[in-house]
């Protein structure tokens, strides 16, 4: 009786381990480091930053991003044109084979439009990415936004 339980537990552990590693090994597309800078509560439009890596031999195309916490989610690229900062909406985003695309300040960002609930530091926002026929569910954390001062100044 005890032995049977022991083996079944071992089996469960083994299966779990195997399943987890096999998922990771076969995970061709990874969306990581997703975060949302905390914004003034009056603000209805927020930004999202993350990293998408595509380790497959084929280009992938992000066709849609959705979140239950926002009316609309768009992919934008900040560019400077005619002396002005502009945001260009990307109807789709291609992540080339065996490469990664980084969403960061002053460049690619998720434009999270019209928030449906108050969001403060520590809150999690679920983002759903459509990549071809696959769906990726990513939790983005709302974090305090600060710009690092790289000077390491020594005044105290």
């Amino acid at each position: 009786m005890f032995l049977k339980k022991y083996f079944s537990l071992l089996w469960v552990i083994f299966v779990t381990l195997f399943a987890t590693t096999s998922i990771q090994a076969s995970e061709p597309v990874k969306i990581t480091d997703a975060w949302i800078p905390e914004a003034p509560p009056v603000v209805k439009v927020m930004a999202g930053y993350l990293k998408i890596s595509n380790s497959t031999a084929n280009d992938i195309v992000i066709t849609q991003v959705k979140s239950a916490d926002f009316e609309t989610v768009e992919i934008h690229q900040t560019v400077e044109k005619d002396g002005m900062a502009r945001m260009l909406k990307q109807d789709k985003l291609v992540v080339p084979a065996d490469s990664e695309v980084v969403f960061q300040r002053g460049g690619l960002h998720l434009m999270l439009i019209n928030k449906k609930r108050a969001l403060k530091k520590g809150d999690k926002v679920i983002l759903n990415f459509s990549v071809g026929k696959s769906r990726y569910r990513v939790a983005a954390e709302v974090k305090e936004a600060a710009i690092e001062d790289h000077s390491h100044h020594h005044h105290h």
Binding site: V43, T72, M84, A85, M111
Partner: protein, 233 residues
């Protein structure tokens, strides 16, 4: 028949003189270019060097002549008027944007917040500088929205805006640009805007431009140098 040779010699003489003058001029000219020009140019160069004497860390941003700002009629986030008189006596940093801006404006305000954290370095005695977040989206950015937005980034930052004709009086004087672009719905339009930070001196003159990418350390050091260099600051 007689006048002919006379005429010829008469014509030949001026031609000879002109030719001689021409050759001498060319010789002098080449002499000037080769040997004398550097000497003649020297005073001209030293004339430029009064501007070149700008400390090198401020040379690319400082506007030696400055430009007095006039006709400024803005409203701050406390519903108080903001005119050119409010520039007097302290340095002002101006940034143009809109509160629906998720990427560039928060980034710039966070850079300025980090700059503010280091401001005492610049000069402990001088009056505190002020930061104006100028909304170029007055239709959506009322003072009620501007105040919580701007002070979220720093309690001392001041949001200001105005109706377009008054906004344009300011933007044209400091070379800032803005424009609107349709979004999915009528209220979701976005605003294109200059990403520079403008510096106005304590005399109310447009005095420097910081261009992106904005670096905290660079702004602090450059501003410190400007403040040391600028007469009457």
């Amino acid at each position: 028949m007689n006048p002919e040779p006379n005429k010829q010699s008469g014509a030949a003489r001026p031609a000879f003189i002109i030719l001689t003058i021409g050759i001498v001029a060319m010789l002098l000219g080449s002499l000037f270019w080769l040997y004398l020009r550097p000497h003649f140019m020297a005073p001209v160069q030293s004339g430029i060097s009064s501007e070149q004497a700008l400390p090198k860390e401020i040379a690319s941003v400082y506007i030696p002549k400055g430009r007095p700002l006039a006709g400024i009629r803005l409203t701050d986030h406390n519903n108080q008027p903001f005119t050119e008189e409010h520039f007097k006596g302290k340095w002002s940093f101006l940034f143009f944007g809109f509160t629906h801006c998720p990427d560039v404006c928060p980034t710039t305000l966070l850079v300025m917040k980090a700059v503010w954290a280091r401001m005492p370095e610049a000069d402990k005695q001088a009056p505190e500088p002020q930061l104006l977040f100028v909304s170029v989206d007055p239709d959506r950015d009322t003072p009620q929205i501007l105040k919580p937005y701007t002070t979220f980034y720093h309690p001392d930052f001041l949001g200001v805006t105005a109706e377009h004709k008054f906004l344009d009086i300011l933007t044209t004087q400091v070379g800032a640009l803005y424009g609107y672009e349709d979004g999915e719905t009528e209220k979701d339009y976005t605003v294109n805007h200059s990403a520079q930070v403008i510096l106005v001196d304590p005399q109310g003159h447009f005095r420097a431009v910081f261009s992106p990418p904005l670096q905290v350390d660079e702004i602090v050091k450059t501003f410190t140098a400007i403040r040391e260099y600028h007469p009457g600051s």
